[in-house]
């Protein structure tokens, strides 16, 4: 077994660790890395983790139309979800609408989708954005699609758990309302993270490296998980797991 790994494999394994012990993870459309992580976590759980992939014809358990995912989240039946952001700031606010003074945006993003809702209702929201630049990780988002934190009297059952990028992992400190650097991926440095992050964040004294996926994880990933991912994301599966296998 080749224990070299693709950068995507590191991200998948890192995210999968965050899903351990959960009952139901939902994954949005166009999310191959979170989707693969959820399928890896399911494989590790011996099938006890339920994974709902939007837009998948075989991994969607929903039969009540587009609203069901949202209703299900409000019922407390979804433990983890993934959100991204055209911009993400240091209070974990996310912007999926655009850059500039709304509605006169200079750069328009696709829109808020369900973020303004799911961020409040899913206990463990993992922010995922591969691009880690000061353009994305900003001091303050131009438009708050969904706020990272809320007043105490606001009904809120969920919120940001961590932010995973191509360079590092942050966890989110609810009390301090700040991100804290948790680990830096192999091949990347704290200085590099600082340089490319537009917001302030906390740091541990001793900076760990994001753990590399072990041989068991890679075997699972390149076997059963790759097959399951290929159903929804054939090009991604071929590129990432195909390459890794061939390496």
């Amino acid at each position: 077994m080749n224990t070299d790994f693709a950068p995507e494999e590191l991200l998948i394994a890192t995210v999968a660790d965050m899903l351990e012990g959960l009952g139901h993870v939902a994954v949005g459309a166009q999310s191959p890395i979170p989707g693969s992580a959820a399928l890896l976590a399911r494989a590790r759980s011996g099938g006890s983790l339920r994974v709902s992939m939007l837009g998948s014809e075989t991994h969607s358990p929903f039969t009540d139309g587009g609203r069901e995912l949202f209703d299900c989240a409000a019922q407390g039946r979804i433990d983890a979800f993934f959100l991204g952001g055209g911009q993400i700031d240091g209070q974990a606010n996310i912007n999926l609408v655009g850059i500039g003074d709304y509605p006169d945006t200079k750069v328009r993003f696709p829109g808020s989708f369900g973020s303004a809702y799911l961020y409040f209702l899913v206990p463990r929201v993992i922010l995922f954005r591969e691009e880690h630049t000061a353009r994305v990780l900003v001091p303050r988002v131009d438009f708050v699609s969904a706020p990272g934190v809320s007043d105490k009297n606001t009904y809120r059952k969920g919120g940001p758990h961590a932010l995973v990028t191509g360079r590092c992992v942050f966890d989110f400190d609810d009390a301090a309302k700040r991100f804290r650097l948790q680990s830096v991926h192999p091949g990347h440095t704290v200085d590099e993270v600082r340089e490319h992050t537009g917001f302030d964040f906390d740091m541990p004294e001793d900076m760990p490296e994001t753990p590399a996926p072990d041989a068991n994880t890679l075997a699972l990933l390149r076997g059963d998980v790759a097959d399951a991912v290929a159903e929804r994301y054939p090009a991604f599966a071929a590129r990432v797991f195909g390459n890794a296998n061939a390496a």
Partner: protein, 270 residues
């Protein structure tokens, strides 16, 4: 049973038009007919997002207002004519969020003027919506505010479905966002891949995925009616065609050449 052109005429200028996302049931054939007839001032509602339907109608100048949680062409990248229209301030944008759109339609389905929706509090979306407001739980079990969303009652819902029958019943399977859209709208116009012989409501297995004819204002048969998008369980998107669209729609001229080739020329040849 009627014709595609008749459906396009029955979506009047200025109508509020509910559309499904690309992965659900999209009547691209009627979208082309709408553009061909020169539809104007439409108020599109993406339930909860729009894709190619929205980008094409916007590019062709048919749209005054776009109400949606997102505009997305999925893996094909940003929506070019939508982005150009935003830059040129050619459309009025009403940004929403998926569950509020579903809930607003459910309010219309129930004939109630508004419905509470979770979350949203503290989102900048709220500041730009005069049809959303903050309220309170009248039973006092919660202190905090809760968002109230006004009912969304489209004039017309337009969808494409795998099957319809001669009674106007329409089979949409598990894609029940289209059922909700039909219940909420004043009328629903449908293209169907295939006409089912017999009564869909009388078939125990098909009935549960069927919108009753009660809600349907017109059905036209249209094989491959979702093309170049896909139709769940039937065919996938026409990848090469959609990439060609994306490449051309980057510019106004390129988009015009696309319309000439795929919207206006086929009409003229009829």
């Amino acid at each position: 049973m009627t014709s595609i052109d008749d459906l396009a005429v029955r979506i009047p200028d200025g109508a509020t038009l509910a559309l499904a996302p690309d992965y659900s049931g999209v009547s691209m054939v009627t979208i082309r007919a709408l553009i061909a007839r020169g539809a104007k001032d439409l108020h599109l509602i993406g339930v909860p997002s729009v894709g190619f339907q929205g980008d094409m109608l916007i590019g062709a100048g048919c749209v005054a207002t776009l109400e949606t949680a997102a505009v997305t062409l999925d893996e094909y990248g940003p929506a070019p004519r939508f982005n150009a229209a935003i830059k040129g301030e050619k459309i009025r944008m009403i940004d929403g969020t998926c569950p509020a759109i579903h809930a607003g339609l459910q309010a219309a389905e129930k004939g109630i003027p508004f419905i509470p929706v979770r979350g949203i509090v503290g989102s900048d979306l709220l500041a730009h919506r005069d049809d959303w407001t903050l309220g309170q739980d009248p039973f006092g079990e919660e202190d905090g505010p809760i968002v109230m969303v006004k009912a969304i009652r489209p004039d017309v819902t337009l969808i494409h479905a795998p099957l319809a029958d001669r009674h106007g019943n329409v089979w949409i399977g598990v894609r029940r966002e289209m059922m909700l859209m039909a219940h909420a709208a004043k009328t629903t116009l449908v293209t169907a891949e295939k006409i089912h012989d017999g009564d869909l409501l009388a078939d125990e297995q098909l009935a549960p995925g069927t919108i009753p004819g009660l809600y349907i204002g017109g059905v036209a048969e249209a094989e491959k009616g979702a093309w170049p998008c896909g139709l769940f369980g039937r065919y996938g998107p026409d990848d090469a065609h959609l990439k060609d669209y994306l490449a051309r729609a980057r510019t106004e001229d390129g988009f015009a050449s696309y319309l000439d080739e795929f919207v206006f020329a086929p009409k003229a040849a009829e």
